[in-house]
Structure formats: structure tokens, C-alpha cells
Amino acid sequence: MRFKIYRYNPETDKKPYMQDFVLDEVTDDMMLRDALILLKAKDETLTFRHSCGEGVCGSDAININGSNGLACKSRLSELKQPVEVRPLPGMPVIRDLVVDMEQFYHHYRAIKPYLTVHDPVPEVEFKQTPEQRDKLDGLYECILCGACTTSCPSFWWNPDKFRGPAALLQAYRFLADSRDQSTAERLQELDGPYRMFRCHSIMNCVNVCPKGLNPTEAIHNIKKLMIKDLI
């Protein structure tokens, strides 16, 4: 199987380049992560992040044949050759497929991703009906891999101001939680022309999310809450 992989080592390379690799030992059930590990065994300078290998840690989001996804969940037999592998777009490259995620994490921290409760807490659990809990499905499962945010043109244009789909999905995760008591503050925080309203429903985020989540819908729901808040 043939691969074209983005290479850049700041210590030795003046600029990035694409390197061709060929891998013979490919089987039907192999994922792209397996291939990268085998290629690294041949050339240990090939650098990428990976860990759990089952799509829950979110380490190995990369750009595969032009689309963002997790290496560990991308089946080789379903990829067009040569498989073109690049780092997540729009992020500073540290080395090869490893990007600096700080901007992404900054927006996540900025939406205050933690439950806020002002009332005294009970000595047992907060009661939450199954229906209330169902509202968190499709939101809490985010693995912070960055595939969505780095596929979003609005984020490419305004990476410092637009929170991006991942952070906004998490913002809604807390707005949708029956236990959270800072709806007004959260909505106010997202108001203004950039933080959320740069979203133009392009829906790249929905197409690439390896967990099947829908940030566009979450953003839409936040807008509905804002309107409700106005009236």
C-alpha cells in the first residue's frame, strides 16, 4: 500500500515536504494507525501522537486524504491510494503530524467547561430524570480530538476569536444539563459577533466527527436559548 506523508522536522528541514512510503504487510482489518506504527518501525523519525487505539483518547486526529479523522478508526481498505496523510489543518506544526493544540484547548477552557451550581448540594445525588439525562447524549462523548474545529473555515479565519465547534458543543453540554445554574452567564459569554456567531452552518464539523456528534445542531440550540432569553 502506498502513502504520502507530511514530514517536517524544524531542526533539519527548511520547509515541509511530502514523503512517499510503501507498506507491504497490509491486512484487511488494519487501521491507518497500525500502518503508521509499522512505518515508524522502519523509520523511527516519523512522528505522530497516538494512544488508546480505539477512538476514546482523541490523540491521533490527523488529515487523511483531505478529511480529518482518527487514524485508529480509519480502515486502510476504505482509503484511496496513495493515502495522503497530513497534520490537522490550520494549526502550527511542531513536527511531522504533531500540531500545537494550545489554541484549541484555550477555547475549551474559555467556555468554562464545568458544572456550576450555586445552591447548596444535597447529601445524595442531584435528581435527574432519564429524559433530562438524555439531553446530554451526543454532547458529553466528545474526546477533544480537534477534528471538527480544525476542519472549520470559520475557525481558520478567526482562530483567536471564534471558539470553534468543539468548544461550542461543550458549552451546550453544560447549558443542556438540568443541574447547571449559570445559563445566563454562559449565554452572555457567547454573545457578540465572533465567539459563536462566526458559525455559518458549513457543517464540516458534523461530517468529520469520529464520534458521530453534531456541533452544528448544538450551536443552533444555543442560538435558540439566546432568543428565548431575549423574550
Partner: protein
């Protein structure tokens, strides 16, 4: 890098590892205004706590009658009586409070119609000291670890904990009086070392599942903290007890939660027989993990395995119905479809016992203090703590119950945080750093910076050989002969490490260098595991010797201690006395 221009930072507490244990301790300390640094070789939410599926045990009695005393009994029985009963009482008593606390912090637990937290049955659980099945495992679908890890990280963001993300810990710094003064760490992005001085250091680096070829663990689970402890001259406890999870995806290793059987799934052999009825007539598929793993291995060994190679059994779930499956177990449905092209609502999943959890570890007491034997008792190592999978309290003894590890990390993460607060009150100043110890740690790093070995060996090949050796010589069933061969092999691997040279000598994000140091750690832990297994001449929990098939409480009701120097073994008694209730004396263990 010379010692003179080494960058140095100072904190009250250094936490190494950002899984549930590290993050829970860090939170306790940050909220007490201690100056705390968390060092993690991956971004915190990538830590392996994220992969825990089924849930966390606590006797909330939301579904069926329950109390912490029954939970305590089950945990002791599950441990095959090797667990320390004071620590187990403490853990089971604290459990409910800790679950409520996590819920208040935002964990999206699944719910019952009453609005209370949903609890599912899990292996080894009973009501009323060995009676009917209990339902004690608090679950967020089958993504409980993810839910808990993300929530704890979020709480640390709120508490403004200081994080060093993508820093690799190299060695502990220790002075002549035996105090631990922090650690030398490596910033992966720049390749530069950093000395973090701390009045207290907490190891929360997780387990060493990468010892085995097929495992449920992440690439990062290389037992770094355990090996750091060994290199600092400390022993490791009960390393022969490695848990094989009954249901890893056959041939691949991804975990299929015990919750699948908790929700009503069951195992069948090639004849379609529900074989657990023969091995555990009462608990059946919800017997302890060691029991179920041995049963599966026996079925396959005796020719009743499934598939063309007759090398696995099947986990049947389709009778539960698509709605229940996708509601309660969405994660494993996704896993099964992604990696096996199997929809569990229609077909059974091929499974086989898979290396999963390090029961052994750095010996600690229930305050998280690292303890070592002296003359007639034991004493703590000043300034050093350990929690979670890298620690051995021991609440899991010879076999951990499913649902007790998420509990372990938060209970002892908090306990260690509290004890560190006390320690900091009486130890208000940083001790003078021991420069010799720093030099030693730098020399360890330098070994990989320079082309030292002759290059006849590679990290990749040695790791593959090590993992294969552990799988072939230190698996579910063991004998003297096989273990002795295994020990010879891992000792020769230890020698061959000297010949390894890494080709990549660059600094920036050099993962080849990190993997070399991780392999160094794994090799030390392989020797610890095989040596401890060879010496223990009985069968107990996960350690199953064909040549010594019975538990021997007269000679072996004791904890193993392995020291790196001279591969020496020592032993210490099991604490059979709980804190407040009567002891549960050892008795035959049937499910």
C-alpha cells in the same frame, strides 16, 4: 544538558500522571491552595482512565438492597484474601460519598426513572455476604471512565491547577536521608529536561498493560512510575498478580466491558453451551474475572473454542434487544462494529482473556504514603505518595473486582491529597536538593541522547519480543518450568537493552527516545512480574499455577516484595484486621 544550566521549578506538590488518581489528588490540593503541578506525558484527557467502560462500585442501593459492608466482603473474597482489610473497609465506606461528589461535579451518570444514578450488576458482587447478585456499579452508559476523567479535568481547570502537558518523567530525586524531593522530567516538545522540586511527589502513572502482546491498554501504559520507584531502590508489591480481562476482542485486545454480562450477556463455546454454568454454578458469567478468564482459557485448551482456529469463545448479547444494547452499551456496539464488522444486536462477539490490569504496584498504606518494611514493621518514604493502578494499597489483592478501579483512584486520590496537606503543614520548606541524585537522573537521560549502544538491537524488536515472551511464559496458567524459561528470557532482554541505539537523535518531539525509555521501564517490570510469579508457589486469584493448584494460606497468605537490586524478593504480612468491623478470615472461594 549540564546540571548548571538545568531549568528548575518549585512546587509544594508534584503529581506525576493525569488520570483519575492524579487529577483527584491535584483537585484536593488545588482547592486547599497548595501550589500543585501535574506532569503528564499526554494531554490529561488522553490518560487511560478515559477507556474505563462499565462503571464504579458504591453501595448506593439505588436498584437493589446494598450496603458498604457487603461490598467490603465481596472485595475481600474477590482479592482471594490477599487484600488488606483496613484499606478495603476504608474504600468501601467512602464509596457512596465519592460517587455523590463526582455527580455534583458534573459526571453525566445514567439515570433511573426515580432520577437516581443507574447501577448495574457486575462480576463478584453479592447481597448479604455471598447471597443474591447485587447491582452496585454506577454507570454513565459504558463510558464511565471518559465521563469521570473529563469531569475531573474540568474541575481542575476551575481550580486553576498548573499542568505540564506532554512532559515525560524520568527519575525521582532522592536525598541521603531518603526524602523524595521531586523529579527530573523531559519536555517532549523541546526535548529539554526540567527539574521540578517538590516537598511531596505523588506517583499516579497507571499500569503496565503494555507488558503483554495482546492487551486492553493504551500505548502509554508502560508503568513508568513503577519503574521509577524500582530505580529509586523501592520495592514493588504483588507484581505476579496481573489481571486478564475475560472479554477482550479476540486477537485484537480492545476491551468489551464486564457490564455487557452485567446487562445480561453470556459466554458460549463452539457447541453453543453456556459453559460458565459448569465453572460457577451460582454466579455464572458474573463470577470474578480470574474465574471467568480461567474458564475461557480452559474451554479453548480443551478444544471447545470457536472460529477456524478454535482460539476464542463468543459473547452473546443479541437477546438483549437493540434498544437496550444501544442505550446501555453504545460504546461497545461502536467498537464491535468498527473493529470487527459485527453488530452485537445481531451476532455474538468473539472474545478471549486479555491482559488488562496491574494489581501489584508501589506499596502504600491507605493514606497513599509509600511504605517499605523495616525491622518489625514498616515506615513511610518521606515526601513520596502513590495512588491508582501504579500503587498497591492493597485493595485488589490477587484479583480486582470490576468497578473497583475507578473507585480506587478517586478514594485514594482524595486520601493522598488530604495526607499531603497535613505533611505540608509540618514540612514547610523545600529541603536542599541532592545534586548527585539530579546528576544520576541526567545521566539516565543522556544514555539515550548519545549513540551509546552498538546498534545491534532496536526498541521496536525488543519490545515485540518482550511482549511475546510475557504472553507465552507468564499468562493465565503458569508452571515452574515455563516461568523459569520466561525469567531467563526477560533477563537476557534486560542485557540486550545495552545494545539498543536510537537512530533519531533530534530534540523536538522525539517519540523514539520516549519509547526507548518506556521500553526500559517495561523490561524492569517484566523481570519483577516473572520473578514474583516464579517464587509464589501456590494458586491465588489471578496467579494460577498448574503445579501448585491450591491456595496455601499457611505459607503464602503474604504480600510479595520485589527489589531491582539483585532481583531480590521479600515478603510482608497481609493486614487481616479492618478498621472497625470484624475480620473476614480466609475461606474457600466459590462463585
Amino acid at each position: 544538558m549540564s546540571i548548571k544550566n538545568l531549568e528548575r521549578r518549585k512546587f509544594d506538590t508534584l503529581v506525576i500522571g493525569a488520570g483519575g488518581g492524579g487529577l483527584r489528588s491535584a483537585l484536593q490540593l488545588a482547592e486547599a491552595d497548595a501550589h500543585v503541578a501535574v506532569v503528564s506525558k499526554v494531554f490529561p484527557t488522553r490518560s487511560h482512565t478515559v477507556a474505563a467502560q462499565g462503571g464504579m462500585n458504591a453501595a448506593l442501593a439505588n436498584v437493589l438492597p446494598d450496603n458498604w459492608h457487603w461490598h467490603m466482603y465481596d472485595t475481600i473474597k474477590g482479592s482471594d484474601y490477599l487484600g488488606d482489610q483496613d484499606a478495603i473497609e476504608y474504600m468501601c465506606r467512602s464509596a457512596a460519598h465519592l460517587v455523590y461528589e463526582l455527580e455534583h461535579q458534573g459526571v453525566p451518570f445514567s439515570r433511573m426513572d426515580s432520577g437516581k444514578i443507574y447501577q448495574r450488576p457486575f462480576g463478584g458482587q453479592s447481597q448479604n455476604f455471598g447471597g443474591e447478585q447485587a447491582a452496585r456499579t454506577c454507570a454513565a452508559a459504558d463510558r464511565t471512565g471518559h465521563a469521570i476523567l473529563h469531569t475531573l479535568y474540568q474541575q481542575n481547570i476551575r481550580a486553576k491547577t498548573h499542568f505540564f502537558d506532554e512532559y515525560f518523567a524520568i527519575d525521582l530525586i532522592k536525598d541521603k536521608d531518603g526524602f523524595i524531593l521531586g523529579a527530573l522530567v523531559l519536555e517532549i516538545e523541546t526535548g529539554e529536561p526540567l527539574l521540578i522540586e517538590a516537598k511531596t511527589t505523588l506517583l499516579a502513572t497507571g499500569g503496565a498493560g503494555q507488558l503483554f502482546r495482546t492487551n486492553t491498554n493504551a500505548h502509554i501504559n508502560t508503568g513508568d512510575g513503577l519503574a521509577m520507584a524500582l530505580r529509586a531502590g523501592l520495592p514493588l508489591q504483588d507484581m505476579e498478580f496481573f489481571q486478564f480481562h475475560p472479554t477482550g476482542l479476540a486477537g485484537k485486545g480492545m476491551l468489551i466491558t464486564e457490564g455487557a454480562r452485567g446487562e445480561g450477556g453470556y459466554l458460549v463455546n463452539k457447541d453453543g453451551e453456556r459453559f460458565m454454568e459448569r465453572y460457577a454454578p451460582h454466579a455464572k458469567d458474573l463470577a470474578s474475572r480470574d474465574v471467568v478468564s480461567r474458564a475461557i482459557a480452559t474451554e479453548v485448551r480443551e478444544g471447545r473454542g470457536c472460529g477456524v482456529n478454535a482460539d476464542h469463545v463468543m459473547l452473546k448479547l443479541d437477546h438483549l434487544g437493540r434498544d437496550v444494547l444501544y442505550k446501555r452499551l453504545p460504546g461497545i456496539c461502536d467498537l464491535s462494529k468498527t473493529f470487527m464488522h459485527i453488530d452485537p444486536a445481531e451476532e455474538p462477539i468473539p472474545v478471549f482473556p486479555t491482559a488488562h490490569y496491574t494489581m501489584g504496584g508501589i506499596p502504600t498504606n491507605r493514606f497513599g504514603q509509600v511504605v517499605v518494611p523495616v525491622d518489625q514493621g514498616e515506615e513511610s518514604i518521606p515526601g513520596l505518595y502513590a495512588v491508582g493502578e501504579c500503587a498497591c494499597v492493597s485493595v485488589h489483592g490477587a484479583n480486582r473486582l470490576g468497578g473497583n478501579s475507578l473507585l480506587d483512584i478517586v478514594v485514594f486520590g482524595r486520601a493522598a491529597g488530604n495526607d499531603i496537606k497535613k505533611y505540608l503543614k509540618t514540612n514547610r520548606h523545600h529541603r536542599l536538593i541532592d545534586e548527585k541524585s539530579v546528576e544520576q537522573a541526567l545521566a539516565h537521560l543522556k544514555r539515550w541522547d548519545e549513540p551509546v549502544g552498538d546498534g545491534s538491537e532496536s526498541v521496536n524488536e525488543l519490545r515485540a519480543e518482550l511482549q511475546k515472551t510475557m504472553e507465552d511464559y507468564c499468562s493465565v496458567f503458569r508452571t515452574e518450568e515455563i516461568l523459569q524459561q520466561g525469567l531467563d528470557k526477560v533477563l537476557s532482554l534486560e542485557q540486550r537493552m545495552k545494545n539498543v541505539r536510537i537512530q533519531d537523535q533530534s530534540k523536538v518531539f522525539n517519540t523514539a527516545r520516549i519509547e526507548a525509555m518506556e521500553l526500559e521501564n517495561l523490561v524492569d517490570l517484566a523481570v519483577a512480574t516473572v520473578k514474583s510469579a516464579l517464587e509464589r508457589k501456590e494458586s491465588r486469584g489471578a496467579h494460577s499455577r498448574i503445579d501448585y493448584p491450591d491456595r496455601d494460606d499457611v505459607s503464602w497468605l503474604k504480600h510479595s516484595l520485589y527489589y531491582k537490586e539483585g532481583h531480590r524478593m521479600d515478603y510482608k504480612p497481609v493486614t487481616l484486621k479492618p478498621l472497625s468491623v470484624d475480620s473476614f478470615p480466609p475461606k474457600p472461594r466459590v462463585y
